[in-house]
């Protein structure tokens, strides 16, 4: 059972790190949000993998479903914000957000 847990932890860490690298390097707002989604995938894989390895899959499933529901309203709100930012600045470059000051 430890081997499967190792497998899930390994890939979850890889997903989270890929998302963090994307967040650090990219400038397009939609790309940044895709990176956040990838981090979320890593976290839900970690939750379910640990639940599977520790024989408490039902609780882990309930947590993952809670996370997915929250993710949907997060995505809806964030994409609406991105569309509004695009209407104001006519670009999706994250550096232009600094010009919104004042």
């Amino acid at each position: 059972m430890t081997n499967t847990w190792y497998l899930y932890l390994f890939f979850a860490a890889a997903l989270v790190f890929a998302g963090l690298l994307g967040l650090l390097g990219k400038r397009n707002l939609i790309k940044l949000f895709i990176a956040i989604e990838v981090i979320g995938k890593g976290i839900s894989l970690l939750l379910l993998g640990t639940g599977f390895a520790k024989a408490s899959i039902l609780t882990a499933q309930a947590l993952v479903i809670t996370y997915i529901v929250i993710e949907v309203s997060l995505v809806a709100t964030a994409l609406a914000l991105i569309i509004n930012i695009y209407r104001h600045t006519k670009s999706l470059d994250v550096r232009n957000l600094a010009k919104l000051k004042g």
């Binding site: 790190f17 899959i57 529901v69 309203s73």
Partner: protein, 160 residues
């Protein structure tokens, strides 16, 4: 076990593609494919409800929302990304994978995990009785999301 590993490797590859690809539409579709693969992994872990939610909601609904946003912001992919990222990303990622493989085994022993008690009942029992407060929170979050979207898209008054 081998199939599961192959699925997980494909999941990581498609997630990295979703971040690296320049075309936004292609990266949204690779994100959907990675959600689909994650859903299949969940099914194979005996977690059918999480798998169904992952495939229907994340691979379906969220992809539609992303594609809608990409269509509404047409010139979005004209953002100039820094060239440094193009070669730094793969190098650092591969380095992390190597470190991950070496270190994770040692870290695993140190991760405090709750003592697992034997679970009884069905998934419905756990969700509706054990985690009732989560469901209330979910309803609140969905309502907050709806109000946020409504507030962001409200029409301006004439006085503004």
């Amino acid at each position: 076990m081998i199939l599961q590993t192959a699925l997980l490797i494909a999941l990581v590859i498609f997630s990295v593609l979703a971040i690296v690809l320049k075309d936004l539409l292609r990266s949204a579709i690779s994100l959907a494919v990675s959600s689909l693969l994650l859903g299949i992994v969940f099914f194979r872990m005996n977690a059918p409800y999480a798998g169904v939610f992952e495939i229907s909601v994340v691979a379906g609904l969220i992809t539609v929302l992303f594609i809608l946003t990409i269509a509404l912001t047409k010139s979005g992919d004209e953002v100039r990304e820094s060239r440094l990222v193009n070669w730094v990303f793969p190098v650092v990622f591969v380095a992390f994978i190597v470190i991950d493989a070496l270190v994770m085994k040692g870290l695993m022993g140190k991760i405090p995990a709750l003592a697992a008690g034997a679970e009884s009942g069905t998934f419905g029992d756990v969700l509706w009785r054990g985690r009732t407060l989560d469901l209330v929170g979910q309803i609140a979050v969905i309502l907050a999301g709806v109000f946020a979207v409504l507030a962001l898209f409200r029409k301006r008054d004439k006085h503004d």
